[in-house]
Amino acid sequence: MIEKILVLEVVLPLLAAPVCVLVRHPRFCRLFSLGVVAACFAIAVALLVEVRGGGVISYQLGGWPPPLGIEYRVSTVNAYLLALVTSMALVVFSFDSRGGPPRVPEQRRHLYYAVFLLCISGLLGIAITGDAFNIFVFLEISSLSSYILVSLGGHRRAVMSAFYYLVMGTIGGVFFMLGVGLLYQATGTLNLRDIAARLEPSLDDRGSVLALALLVVGISIKLAVFPLHHWLPNAYSFAPPKVSAFLAATATKVSFYLLAMVLFTIFGAPFVFEELRLQAVLLPLSILAMFLASGAAIFQNDLRRLLAYSSVAQIGYMTLGLSTANATGLAGGLVHLFNHAVMKGGLFLVVACLLYRVGSVHIDALAGIGRRMPLTSAALVIGGLSLIGVPGTVGFVSKWYLVSGVLERGWTAAAVLILLSSLLALVYVGKVVEVLYFRKPAETQPIDHVREAPLGMLAPAWVLAAAAVFFGLTTDWTYGVAREAAELLLAGGI
């Protein structure tokens, strides 16, 4: 039974998109897509419960057995990603943005929902499929739809940043494609497990090293690994607020999974981290991301750009966990996927609330808003504390295991740097909080008319804020799962 509904995870949103296009009624589309996303979430949770503890569920598309046919295969790693993407999608879709992006006219809103659903189905497809070429297809589905979503941001620069995102994303996609091609040439198969079994990577084999290089660079662009992150701050700050929340919470996370899968499952930790010593590149880049991107965030005056740069820094924490290549550190990186999704998703939803009521999230426009919108501001404070990594929030859990993993590797200096970099988060979060609560509003920008955000916006933002505390104190379904996934990845499975 469960393997039958597995395929629905991707098929449901994929089919729901054309339904939206056909029905065209904006209100229907909104509720329909919410229902579809809720169903996907339910399936993902069922899958996660099923595979927790080492189970695997496999589905063969069209009944063609692998390696010839395409196999959808779900283990703890995939189920974790599916649950992450669908839960964030559910929260974001339940966020009532009063009709969608302002620049999209009423009669074309159904297209917005259709594209959003396609994006979700692409992301879920990447996480679920066991076929390399299929991954590329879903990667393009999700990327193309996210370019469109970003371009709907309303500001003219949204179109420009979407275009830049498209150029960068396409380069990344091509690199990925070339890498898959080389793998196919070397092994004669596209099934991931089959590739992993047949591939015998070695430093003398230029083909496999080149394939690895292409794949890593390609995915790194999509993941926005420093210094390939330039598309991200613009894309996140000009996209519609709901889209920023969704992309920040999910898109880069799926790319991270892809990177981990390539490194650990296909090429294997012994080759990548002992022969090739990829950590010699990955570790410095991660640390640079943590410091330079956080440093850049401090100097941003637009809250969205600030959060976007913070995202680049947080991706640095994740890749740092990857480069430890031990269970603790990798689990720390993986758990940070979810933890960061919760806090950054919540923060971008807060941004959406502020945009709706205040009209701008420039730092000067937010002066004194803490009193006018106490609940929204409190959610922002919780998300901010989590970014800093205060104990009792999700950020602390990630930091705890990342530092533990790094210490296990014996990289004491890196451990110190992780902790020091979280102080930069203190600076940029403190800057926003201080403006919200202590700065007097400017004479030219009266804020007397600003009221608390409506419940339909506030509730989803607070769900994520509450989750940031809840999962900071109970970690069985976050760290517990991430640990299992990390052990599975290190053993070369998916």
Binding site: G392, L426, T475
Partner: protein, 496 residues
């Protein structure tokens, strides 16, 4: 009521106080009811902590395990002697302070009183969480919570000065706790696989002497609330807060959280034997001695009364760190004792400073000439508390100093005499920074009396601060006197 429930009740009562503050002061608009509720709930909290005292004195260690946060890391509480002492001090003085705060906040016409009392109660919650923490994670959780919850109290006035002070406050406290304390905890976790507080310590005897020294210094500086130099600047800056905050939080709950953490870590993470066997403690003793003398010297030069008291606090806190660093049973006893004695004394001094501010709007020592004659109760209390801080019998502070000196002699170091000298010198310096206040108050001619000092018929009438301000400070002054006579119980309690 089982001991487990009692711990939970003691922890949750301050939260209840915060909620009732919010409801009564904010939603229902009944400030009088709000101001009655807080001391009442405070009394209940103290009673709950007091109930635990019996168990602990009988050798019991009441425990409360809430849930597992990370594998092997629980949110859990355990009441042991040091924690009990700190809990009693914090919750007991909270009652007095909440009464004093009503008089002060109303007498001084402060804004946002509901927010003030709410965060105040929540800070006590965090302090009790620190007191009862049974592992380093729980301690760290509440330690950070205390920093964040007291931030709105420091920036209460919302002025530029308050914001700047708030930035320094958060900056230094979070910087030290994240980069030193958390790092030390993670290293401990890596070395031992546990972060439970265990009698005798968790770091094995095989830990190298260099590692012990590094860890000890990381912990000591990481507990930035202990205000060891050079990470002390947050404390004088925090004095922009309303005086009740300076009194309870920045003389008792917050700063004691730092030194309490150090004491607890020395006893239950390192273990006295391990520390005594390494030369780690000598370095910490030196740092503590330096802080003690340096802060005292700076205190003498401060004209602002609250700033002078703040530097005095820095100096007095170093006594506790010194006691912990001795790594002997006597040192820990002296440190624990100083927590209680200094709390009673310093809170009185701050109460007096606040009372003077409310009654006369004077903040500087140089303006206090002759005030003792119009505010006799306040200045008498100030005098008594000063004696306790200096360490003169028959006041509580003298015992703490006595045991510290005994402890200094007991350590095997060749230059034990040097530390003895430091302690004596520091007491002497305390005379210099505290006594001028009393002398000016009682003996200097008041400026309005004119240059001729026309003494005689026109004695000034008594003009004390409101009753709700004066009564608590008299009470705490008497408390530091009473503590001299019950020190024996503390010796029984802190028997390591």
């Amino acid at each position: 009521m089982s001991a487990e429930t009692t711990i939970l009740v003691a922890l949750l009562l301050p939260v209840l106080a915060a909620v009732s503050c919010l409801l009564l002061g904010g939603g229902l608009g009944r400030p009088n009811l709000r101001d009655i509720a807080t001391p009442l709930i405070g009394a209940c909290t103290f009673a709950a902590v007091w109930r635990l005292a019996g168990d602990v004195l009988a050798g019991g260690r009441p425990e409360l395990v809430l849930f597992e946060v990370l594998p092997g890391v629980e949110l859990a509480f355990q009441v042991e002697p040091l924690g009990l002492l700190y809990g009693l001090v914090a919750s007991g003085l909270w009652i007095v302070t909440s009464i004093y705060a009503v008089g002060y906040m109303r007498g001084h016409h402060e804004q946002n009183q509901t927010r003030f009392f709410t965060f105040f109660a929540l800070s006590i919650f965090a302090a009790l969480g620190i007191a009862f923490a049974s592992n380093l994670f729980t301690l760290f959780l509440f330690y950070e919570a205390l920093t964040l919850l007291t931030f709105p109290l420091v920036t209460h006035h919302g002025t530029d000065e308050a914001r700047r002070a708030g930035r320094i406050y958060l900056g230094i406290l979070l910087f030290t706790s994240i980069s030193f304390l958390l790092f030390a905890i993670l290293v401990t976790w890596r070395l031992t696989g546990t972060i439970e507080f265990t009698p005798g310590g968790i770091l094995g005897a095989e830990t190298s002497s260099g590692m012990v020294t590094v860890l000890l210094l990381l912990y000591a500086f990481g507990a930035g609330k202990a205000a060891l130099m050079p990470f002390h600047r947050w404390l004088p800056n925090a004095m922009v807060a309303p005086t009740p905050v300076s009194a309870l939080l920045h003389a008792v709950a917050v700063v004691k959280a730092g030194v309490f953490a150090i004491l607890k870590i020395v006893v239950y993470v390192f273990g006295l034997d391990l520390l005594a066997g390494s030369n780690a403690s000598l370095s910490l003793m030196t740092i503590a001695s330096f802080t003690m003398l340096m802060a005292a010297v700076i205190a003498i030069r401060q004209d602002n009364l609250k700033a002078r008291l703040a530097y005095s606090t820095i100096s007095q806190l170093a006594y506790i760190v010194l006691g912990a660093a001795m790594a002997t049973a006597t040192g820990v006893l002296a440190g624990g004792m100083q927590i209680a004695m200094h709390a009673a004394g310093k809170i009185t001094l701050f109460f007096c400073a606040g009372a003077i501010l409310v009654a006369t709007h004077k903040k500087k020592v140089s303006e206090l000439d002759g005030l003792g004659r119009t505010m006799p109760w306040t200045f008498a209390a100030f005098f008594l508390a000063s004696l306790s801080i200096i360490g003169i019998p028959p006041l509580g502070g003298s015992w703490a100093k006595w045991y510290l000196m005994v402890g200094a002699l007991e350590t095997g170091f060749a230059w034990q005499a040097a530390f003895l000298g430091v302690l004596m010198l520091s007491s002497l310096l305390a005379v210099f920074y505290l006594m001028p206040v009393v002398v000016r108050g009682f003996f200097a001619a008041s400026p309005s009396a004119g240059p001729s000092g026309s003494a005689g018929g026109d004695r000034k009438p008594i003009a004390e601060a409101p009753f709700l301000c004066v009564a608590p400070l008299v009470l705490t002054a008497l408390l530091s006197l009473a503590l001299f006579f019950v020190a024996g119980d503390l010796v029984t309690l802190l028997n390591f």
